[in-house]
Symmetry: C5
Subunit: 354 residues, 5 copies
């Protein structure tokens, strides 16, 4: 749950504001991509260089800079200097263990949010930290590694007909957030499917591995809650800001986002309730099974133990046992045994054990 | 619980404000019905056409437009244009997975609420999303399919004597809400009946299917809570609005509605408590049953195992066993066995196992 | 828990403000009693007629009208007209499934509260809805049926020496509320006694009926919480009102009432904690009992099964079993059996099973 | 939990403000003690008479009147008249079932708080209601019976060197509160010791009495919470008052008190968590014990039942059983039995049951 | 949990503001270390004497005084007089059982916080109370014993290049807090590792010691919560203060600290959820094991008890049992026994018990 162990330990002792990546550095070089657009034009650079970035002129149009790979500290540092961001902001971008958060500055907003993926093996939910800074006419997004959920947005930017081309940085930032949050629904949906599978398993075919699945489901939900709950505050702060960077008529989009986040929370909370319900069912099914086992044992033992006793009595070697020499004694005893067995069976039938 | 699976997944990647119906499109065409009324006159059109709608003159009287079937995107879109609604509002109407919500605009109010039905098989609670927009002198209601709980309201409109004819759009909107919320009581009542049935079952005749019923009851309650809790905020926002669209003297009706919602919440919460109590009872009844089973086994085994041992001893074939030749040995042993059995029975009596 | 089933269902479809009694109409006619008093005089009419009521002059003194039986809709309606109450107020009075609530009007306050009784069979808690409306110089109280907790107040009104004669409608309303809330203590006290009885039962003599008692206790507590929790808000609203109908120097009485309500809530919550604790104890006592049963079975079986085996060995009919012909073999085997039994007993003693 | 049963029932029907002691009246007469002090002088009267009290001149110095025994209603009433306290205040002092509370008047503060003692048998926590009223230059404290935790304060008053002599009524009231709250730590400490003893018992030596101890511990904690939680509000109100009776520079003392109360709450809450944890442990230990019992039974039964069967086979009396006459048959069968037993033991070893 | 028992008991009866160390006094003398620095110079004194402290000139530069050992009351008292601190502050520093807290004075801030260590045996978490007072240009830190987490800060002070040399007392105080809170991550990380070990143990190899480990884990988490939750308020108060002692541009550092504290709380809460989940798993694993044991017993008993009965029948000594003399009777019976056993095994196979 404390993903990326060792991270915090290494960090300790550093002065605040140190831009030092704490995770395992991946081997891929960080990549910068760049979008310029206004209502009429757009320009796209897939491999943007740091030099271009330093010379970038922000006076007109909208600029979207996306950095894949936050382990290259010098890149982060240069961007921080170019845009004059606070030292602690740059530190937060690089430290991947952050909680989703929102910070407001005079000339820009800073957001941290988690991008979630179902891991390829389907066992875990993988997190990737995405940081978004947006100001008057620029949006800068930082991701841990290549591959994201923003392709639909890129397509829309390339096309004049979409609203995004006629809106500012706040709308682009909203679109990025929207894309990330929409992606949560995929996670929740597959989780929902798994909850249903688990339900079926618990009711029809539970075994000792079921409990482990329930626990893992619970862990996933704990992890998701840690990512989703803080989002509420993040998005709600955005809707309530009075900073002019967020245009009046765009605030409704963020309100809409807020509704989505609340729906996510509702859904995750009902999953939580359901999984905790499943645990109860599982425990009761274990007890029910034991009950079944015990009943079988009891029925068999209760029928045959008295019969065995009777047989034992007539297996005694006393010299004077008058019954032994009676003509029909053997069959009488067999008959008695049969009656005893039938009586027992009726008793069990009455108790609904059969 | 995430009803209408696949819905969210398809949605992802679309620009915000896209009016695209996500559920499975039903085969029936959407139907528009129209009511015009003022204090003295009323007019009712059962199959209202889109053309009429576009030419509709809103300058006098009250107008209620009801749309059954939100899967026809172009209808929704035309209405949106005619009344000049926000793009996101139209999107919300079409997306059926919404959470109940309330939005206030300068010239209209927008509400989403769930209409609940007991499914025909009685197993589930079916949800239908109802969106209501009302302004100065119009109310527009959107439903997923034909069939609703508004017939009593239609009757009252047709009759001059009712207050509804002398009140504006806010009162009509209140009436619609009131009809939907009143309908919740039917759901809760049948749920309450089921809780009582379940109580009886748990106490007198629980079996391994009972736990599944308890779990399904719990699921239903989770689903209802998701629909009912957000209503509190929706209705409370309506009572607190300062918008003149809601006339001062009608606010008390919404307060009354608020009280009803709180009562619904109270009731659903006490059902929740009771169902969680039932689970405890069920689990303890399973344990009690096992106890019964074990007692029977123990009583039988404890009485006959020692007796069988005694019989076994005198079944040994040692050449020198003096008792064997004694005259009354056999009957003495039988007597001893009887005494052992009686002692055991007394012991069990004392322990209250019998 | 949804007492008075069918009530809501019948109600549905009626226009708001319909004064229609929903419960089963009792056979007794509603009775109106009337008190007039000021500092020096008082007049009491036990059977007050509707005609007198209509001609009632409210210009001087204090007037207390008490109606027993709210099923006579026309009586309620006439009172509503006489005093000019809001339609919804009259509706709330007649609908007995209301939640305790408080409403403030310009010229009067409206309260709904539950009067609680232990049912005669002692199984349930019976609720009766009491509505109180008070204005400048009148208090009107509505009860479902005759018989109430107000006799002490009536006595005080008849006597000049009591403060009530020198105080206004707010003080009388306070006195009525105080009498009702004081009565809750009786309910809670008998509940407390039952909790203690249940405690003793669980610890010394629990059986399978105990769990049902615990569950019923829990249900009672759920019911009480539904009546008592909303009271907090009701009384707290009264202490915070700025309406001059509530005289400054009488507010402290309502504060005192508020303290009582909080005490009730404290008490009911600790009962809740205790009852949920009792359930745990009960479940553990079931397990402990099963443990006892199992121990007895195990001790008996573990001692005699090996012995029976030994006996079995020497009951075999092999022709060549040298021990059989030894002189002391039989007694040696008996001795070995004794030793095995003693060893087993020591083993159980060590494990503290004996 | 509803200590002093019958109390409420008797109270019902009395007019508000009735000064009538509801508990069982103790036989001891109430005692009044009196302290006068200023910076230079002090006077102490151990048995202060009501007459002196009525003639008391409050114009200079500090006056502390302590009443032991609140069952003498006339004493309480005279004090109330002398100092002109509100009727409801006097009622609250006499009614011992009060919740800790704080009330602010123009010229005085009124506090109710519980003094807690470990009962002599150590089973329960005994409560004593202490009421404190303080104004400009007097403090009046009411206790249920003689014996308190104020001796240290008395000593400090007798000595000029302590700050208390140079401070006013607010500081004395603070000192009294501080003494009472400090005393709570003793209760919590002995509770903490008991929790630790219980922990040891649960882990090493739990028996069926343990569960009762856990439940009683839980009850104690419920009782303590009822006394301690309301204190937070009481003390917090004192720190936030703007009444000049509380001197600016003494408020920090009440803040300090507030910190102590929060610490008490923290501690009691962690006890609560721990005790609920202990219950889980206890339940699992019961299950573990049953597991042990079952294992022993299963091992013995599983080894000997097959062996007994083998012995049984060769105890049959068929005329034609060829093995019976074989020379080494008996020893072969014994050997087979040994092998079966060993195989079983290995099987149990593998399953870690041994 | 009430660490340092006896502490509170001794304290009782003392006048407020008494500077008396309550723990067991360690044998080491308290040590004072001193740092002077400004942008250009710094001076460090490892063993600073009380006399120097009294003569200390605070007019220029930054002063950091660190006291290791708070049991020397006279040292604490002298510092209190030199800097003119409130009596209660000095008392709080010396009383080690404090809750983390924050107090604001006109000319200084006072903080109490816990430094946490994993105890050397790794069983417990050891707490050390650190008090920090900082004013315009001084920071005074009090620790219980030598050894701390501030060495990295000392290094940074010795080096001109770090920001700390150019910042005031608020930044130094922030750095101290940051160092302590960073250290919490180490605790949480080792806790996280232990949770994972426990997970593995519960799933693969749980035994009766596991439950004790789970309980101890739970206790640790309770202890940590008591230290960490109050921090939220402490740090949040610091970010919201309007005192000029905290420079505007340093507040963002405290906000960052606040984010860290929230992350700690998130993490500890998810540990709590996970550990409570583990307990459920453990309990179910105990039940599953018992199920396994019961199945083995039932299978063996159910197969052999009927067989033994059959053998018993033919071991009876009746004179007239025709089968005994049949030629193939013995083998037929053996065959029947085999068939019975096989039928039983098939039955168990069907029930998935094998």
């Amino acid at each position: 749950m404390l993903k990326g162990k060792g991270r915090f330990t290494k960090h300790i002792g550093l002065p605040p504001g140190s831009i030092i990546y704490m995770g395992q550095k991946p081997e891929i070089d960080p990549e910068i991509s760049y979008f310029y657009y206004d209502e009429n034009n757009y320009r796209e650079v897939e491999k943007y260089s740091l030099e271009d970035l330093e010379k970038l002129d922000l006076s007109t149009g909208m600029h979207w800079i996306n950095i894949d790979g936050i382990h290259a500290e010098e890149v982060i540092e240069k961007i921080g200097k170019k845009f004059n961001f606070h030292q602690l902001v740059m530190e937060d971008i690089v430290h991947t263990g952050q909680r989703p958060k929102f910070e407001e500055f005079d000339d820009c907003f800073f957001l941290i949010i988690k991008m979630l993926y179902n891991s390829t093996r389907g066992e875990n939910i993988e997190e990737e930290q995405v940081s978004i800074i947006f100001g008057e006419n620029y949006v800068i997004s930082f991701q841990e590694k290549p591959g994201d959920v923003f392709d639909a947005i890129r397509k829309r930017i390339r096309d004049t007909k979409y609203r995004i081309r006629r809106n500012g940085a706040d709308y682009l930032a909203y679109s990025l957030l929207d894309a990330i949050i929409d992606n949560y629904y995929i996670i929740l949906e597959s989780l929902g499917d798994n909850v249903e599978l688990l339900e079926n398993e618990v009711f029809s075919d539970s075994n000792s591995a079921t409990i482990e699945k329930i626990y893992k489901m619970k862990r996933k939900i704990i992890q998701l809650r840690k990512s989703i709950w803080p989002l509420r505050e993040v998005v709600s702060s955005l809707t309530r800001t009075e900073n002019v960077l967020l245009k009046e008529n765009n605030i409704r989009f963020f309100s809409d986002l807020y509704d989505h986040v609340i729906m996510l929370i509702d859904t995750i909370e009902s999953f939580r309730d359901m999984v905790s319900g499943l645990l109860d069912i599982y425990l009761s099914s274990v007890s029910n099974k034991m009950n079944e086992v015990m009943k079988v044992l009891t029925i068999i033992a209760t029928i045959f133990i008295p019969l065995t006793f009777i047989a034992g009595v007539y297996g005694m070697n006393f010299h004077y046992m008058p019954e032994l020499s009676w003509r029909w004694a053997y069959f009488t005893v067999l008959g008695v045994m049969l009656i005893v067995a039938i009586v027992m069976l009726i008793f069990f039938k009455r108790r609904k054990w059969l």
